[in-house]
Symmetry: D2
Subunit: 361 residues, 4 copies
């Protein structure tokens, strides 16, 4: 049973979330996860604590319709494939998968295979160029990462099982073996509703949170990490965070790149200055209809003057998704070095501290 999320605990995050407070509030965006958690009682492979999180921007549609997109790396000590083409074409086709550092290859291989099969009927005899977006963070403290245990079948399972609705957070999918502000980290999500001219749109964020030092940890403006010094894990930042931002607002690629850049401020809200060994890489995409075919195309997009609420939503949802990832996570024993426990943050204790500051109901 899932632990309470931030708002369930009463944490007073700003802004108005969508119905699920998840990336799946953006219509058509589906999430599938394969979780290999060897730390669970009776697990066959106890040192395997990893997985993959798959995001389908256009659901299970077999039509190969790209989504417009933009990316930004606050700090590049990580990987997100597909970014060269996103930068120049402003779009990508196919899934986004997030896994551990040493499984980027197999996730890429499997995602390509899935794309070839998935779009086979549409492409028919035509050429398909499959260049999926695969991102990663490092889980070698909690997972036997050098064993490269993720398989093609695991990735295909995540892709095929992608669905709407609530997203399992914490020790799930690619986030299974993550550490965040020296607490147990993982997968987290949140969303914001953005009304424009009487119509509701959403910005949804999914993070794989594996970054930060305890002393930096700040929740809703309170430097709680400095008061929670138990079970610290490391002396020096060695993690990363991947932020995926989805929206159904019609945004151009250059606008989406600017949105992706704002995730910098979003991750900063929980205290990180963007550590040097961290791969802080962000992707923003829009599910709005792309331009129609023809020599001259017509593209609809939100006016720049309306972007500030989108930026604010991105900042807020990124921050809330990180806290949700931590709150949903569960304790996990370490592998390298062995013999310790990476503790999940105590949600009730956090709520208590924030209640004292008037930031929790």
């Amino acid at each position: 049973m899932a632990k309470p999320r931030g708002r369930d605990l009463g944490l007073r995050f700003p802004g108005q979330p969508g119905p699920l407070n998840a990336i799946t509030d953006v219509p058509g965006v589906l999430v599938g996860q394969t979780t290999l958690d060897g730390s669970m009682p009776g697990a066959a492979a106890p040192t395997v604590r990893t997985g993959v999180t798959a995001i389908l921007p256009r659901g299970h549609s077999v039509d190969p319709v790209p989504v417009l997109a933009g990316t930004f790396a606050l700090n590049g000590n990580g990987e997100m494939t597909g970014c060269h083409w996103i930068r120049d074409a402003g779009s990508f086709l196919g899934p986004v998968c997030i896994t551990n550092t040493h499984s980027v290859g197999i996730a890429h291989h499997a995602a390509v295979r899935w794309m070839i099969r998935h779009h086979a009927a549409t492409f028919g005899p035509d050429h398909i160029w499959a260049m999926p977006v695969i991102a990663e963070t490092y889980d070698g403290v909690l997972n036997d990462i050098n064993g490269q245990h993720l398989t093609e079948a695991h990735v295909l399972a995540a892709l095929q099982s992608a669905q709407g609705g609530p997203v399992a957070e914490g020790n799930t999918g690619g986030g299974t073996g993550m550490i965040c502000y020296e607490f147990k980290g993982g997968t987290g999500t949140a969303s914001r509703r953005i009304p424009v001219e009487g119509r509701d749109f959403h910005v949804g964020v999914l993070v794989q949170a594996n970054h930060g030092l305890r002393d930096w940890l700040t929740v809703l403006g309170e430097p709680v990490g400095q008061a929670m010094q138990h079970d610290r894990m490391m002396q020096r930042e060695a993690g990363s965070i991947i932020v995926v931002i989805a929206t159904d607002l019609p945004l151009r690629p250059d606008q989406l790149e600017r949105v992706a850049r704002r995730a910098s401020i979003g991750i900063g809200r929980s205290g990180t200055p963007g550590g040097n060994s961290s791969g802080d890489i962000f992707l923003a995409f829009s599910t709005a209809a792309p331009a129609a075919q023809g020599a001259f195309q017509t593209l609809t997009c939100l006016a720049d003057a309306h972007l500030d609420p989108v930026y604010l939503a991105t900042v807020e949802a990124t921050d809330e998704a990180i806290i949700n990832a931590m709150l949903a996570a569960c304790d996990m024993p370490t592998l390298k070095p062995a013999g310790r426990i990476c503790r999940a943050i105590d949600g009730q204790a956090l709520a208590g501290m924030l209640r004292g500051a008037g930031k929790c109901g």
Copy 2:
């Protein structure tokens, strides 16, 4: 007489500042300002409320020795000249001047003239390429910006008067006519001490703060803007912020670019998501000795593994400099639209709110 700065009021900013808590804590870095404040009683030109702030990275030395540098624009709706060459050469020669949007040209013209004269003895018959760094934010609400009142003499005066010691904050220099979070903004500064291997270095920040909406304003994690709704100025973000980061740590250009990028998180601490109409442009430079001449050069630099404290110092000092700019500023009547007063934030009221949250001594 200057109003109390943030720490004077008891605000509990994190980190250890340098002796002056100013960019001038970096040895050799001097600041000069020309302030044209027509709003002062008896001013000859009451609609002129502008100026220029000059930073000399190598003081008044006539040796033309570049400083290594890097830049980043979180949002580019603004100007900072010299960035093409900084990006490729990783260095610049000459002063940094910050003024209003429509005085970039005259400040550039004057800075070039100053460089030609200043380095004349050294260059002698040789060529000098003068490409100074001139940045700006918009002061058209409080200043007759279209009058282009700044003159070459004003800029030369700022350059010639540059000195160490405390920096006049608030309605001073280029910051004279600025608005920040709908309070009166302006020039602000702060610094952090960074010990490395038993030696003290500093990161110093100077901002020209002209950005933000009241509802966003957050100080030390408290959303104080939402509780200070009086005298609001605008519906929509229309400002900008320039952040200049100086250090005596030996950093490579690529490291300085990464430092500049962290100012994004720094400005985010007071609440802005980086508005679309904002020119949020950041410059970082190092006063350490550049490489010696010769076909093969030797460059000393801080190891990447030691950068996180520099990033954190940049984030913290940027945030504190913005708050210092607001606290030092004074009320100013508006010009366009006319008839209102742009109020300075009430430092005591702010301190009171923060004291209630345990964030002010």
Copy 3:
């Protein structure tokens, strides 16, 4: 009387130019130049050999309608203002001026003044943000650049006199004191016609050419520089080139940035590898109608699949504009060091060499 251009000499440049073979083949694009050529007999100020070239993307219209734009710097040892905003907004408003390195400031100052006045009726009481595009190359070998002789009046004159029709090339405007492949350089232009779906569009290029070593010089694939070793000027590349690319094709900002990037290949055709001390900075803009106002905007643009002819046109016109600049230029005595003559390339000799290679009619 103008000297013969490349095609007049019979040089077999590839592609189909527009009627004028000039940037002014793009409807609405006007060019004005102020030339201060003290090397002409009887000149009052013999050491002043400089000027300014002004390009009006939307002619003399007082409506402040931006043009979509993109930029690229192959090598950044130079200046082009306005690029931060072009990168983020994908557009700019106002003129493009090209002058010498030490006159960037006054040209910026004058262009801002011109914009304030020019658009006064339209803006009325509203705010105008003037951030014009000012670029430069260095003319200190032939001009008393440290005298900063260009004035506001000179720049305003260039702006006010901007017109369509043929563009004066060679020792004109900002190109007056330039050196190219150690021959006399300057202003040059060329264009290409691009039919799309039965309609004719144009790509027009204007260069201020001040780059290159003699040994590198290649015309239509022939390494002619190695056979023209007379009157060499320098040992080491110390120049720059500005390339402005205009089109009436509807291109998005990201497409225009890609177009700008192709000027790298364009300048490479005459032999330069992009010297380290060179400011090789390129701007591309489209005069097509921008998106209409409203929360949701509709933008028409050329499909990516149709871009290759635009890229090829850019490469070809950039190359031809450089050769045209050299062919139109006239001898000029040097100032620093003094006592030499910077020779114009001998068009007939060049034509002869190319005729031998079958590349001249």
Copy 4:
């Protein structure tokens, strides 16, 4: 038996190559290739015509010493992993592999495995972050790319067999199924010698050439493609080129990025304007010793003033490597669409054309 290379045919390429005229002229740089050429008589899998080319920047050393590096994408329709970290850290550890588009994942997976094993003794119980550089071009016209036939064993074989000496060009390794200017393309290499202060250094280039339209093809300045209209393959550019530039000169990351940018001009020499559907992605690395460990590091690098010969060498060697790739390639029947032959360029015919132009001995 290898066909004659460009210089063997008498083609008068400019510049002075190293002893092998190959990337392996850079000491320590090794190349290994696995070639799966089903088009060879008797091949078991006739539709498989692909492979992988592995470059080991530091040979078979088990010490995990990064090489400093920089990258540039003239056009991003392709993949090169590892670029986020190269951009921020300015270095990478591990091999560079080039393969087909749909084998990027398996090559990444195998390269990670190889790195884990290869550096096992050195890392011991410590963490290794494996983020290898895997690049690709598309071979779906000549190879059953959707079959994803490359295996982990194939990649490991290429890595393990990497060696110095001459590099097999043409239909080899990742270049097996490539098409270049509508002739058969593939793997090619060239180098240039660069003396600095009496010591010889080298710039070596390896390309996987899969780009260009016949009409564009230009060799040594002669537009030979327009005269070789037989056996054309396509209407529209659909290919890509990967350029890897190695040097033993001590260059900083920012210098290496500038070097990588010059490959744009290098590929332009054979006529391409950088097609929109092309992934033109370039990597430059230096094998010079990196900075020593410690809080303050000392880095030796070439002075910027000495870079122009490096840029020129990069341009020249890139161009020559492409022509070498074409000259070494052999005819191959097409798969999709089936029934045609992708012809290798006729080296003797080419030499004849160039001899007529005085460009072949």
